[in-house]
Symmetry: C2
Subunit: 211 residues, 2 copies
Amino acid sequence: MPGKKVSEKTIRRLSHYARCLREARIDGTPFVTSKHLSERCGISSAAVRKDLAVFGEFGKQGSGYEVSGLLENIERILGTCDPPPVIVIGAGIIGSALLESGLNGTGGYRYLASFDSDPKTIGKTIAGVRVQSLAELRDVVSEQGDVIAILAVPPGEGQNAVDNLVSVGCISILSFTLEPLDIPDGVVLRYVEVSTELDLLTYSLKCRDRS
Amino acid sequence: MPGKKVSEKTIRRLSHYARCLREARIDGTPFVTSKHLSERCGISSAAVRKDLAVFGEFGKQGSGYEVSGLLENIERILGTCDPPPVIVIGAGIIGSALLESGLNGTGGYRYLASFDSDPKTIGKTIAGVRVQSLAELRDVVSEQGDVIAILAVPPGEGQNAVDNLVSVGCISILSFTLEPLDIPDGVVLRYVEVSTELDLLTYSLKCRDRS
DNA sequence: GCGTGTGAACCTCTTCACAGCG
DNA sequence: CGCTGTGAAGAGGTTCACACGC
């Protein structure tokens, strides 16, 4: 069972389905069809059914999927029924904005702590989250167990911060830095690359200009 | 020539190559090999060569690719040699942070203007960029031609903002909102979904726990 | 009838392996 | 000899179409 290879794309779409289902639950919709979800998420209905069928038979023929039941199942699959706490490394502009904008609407995530190397920033409280020194990182992570770290440090400090995180046992990192970062096996590192998204949009503009 | 279908993945990687090449140029490295780029970007060297070969024969057998020449070619392909100006819709926490953190290191993008609906925010200047009223959006976009809009509005206002952008002729949008947004044909809309990235990391933690 | 679950066809992307050129 | 460019093989993901259950 653990060896099921499920593609990242499928998991990403499960996250989208979960978001739609939360909306539907709020609206009081009892059932959704694969067509519903597919239109809301911009993919084919067959893909929705395939994604869900990987993990079980959640649907009822003729009526579709029961909203709250399917949502619970997806959250169990993703692990978001009991989501890991999130820590923010770097309490600069980006880090502060992430803390201040909170994680509402993201399905249960919450900020546990933030860390910075600047003595002037350490000790501050941002949106109810205390900024701690990096020396305290180890204690927080080891006490907490699974943690997701968001990396929002200035250019050039990314690798240092990653090494730090890895050494204290953090194996899930979401980086907002541009630099490619080296990680050992077993650590999962994802990037939010605004710059690359802009490049993709620029390219699409250029293609349009040509046709 | 315009009809060449190039995958998004390839374009995304070109963006990564460009970033590596800018680094290499700063370091004074005259040539890079596909192996160089592949290791730096975490993919296979064959993929690098395939990506580049789509657009021409930029390499020299035996030595590799000339750094500044290849970078120029990639920037010409992406259109980033003359990147479109960027506007920010929504000058709240996220919008302000984007403006304040600037676009340095992203390869030439610059903020042109920002817009908000809150009279208290309009007129302020954030990181040298004036916050204008949405009424002024049309003038700015039509005067400028191609523009990339970053959407950083509060939950629930996304669709409105998109409709606004589309109606004034903006066809490239990068959304930081969670809501799925409807767009007409011809408009390119991309999402930065921190929430989904967190879900992917949570899932990877869960998988690790099982094995 | 409606909508799921699923094998099969289809398509796209990646990796392999090697010819060919500097 | 080293590294590119590239056909061929392989892997992975998506779409199709239909049998089955409600």
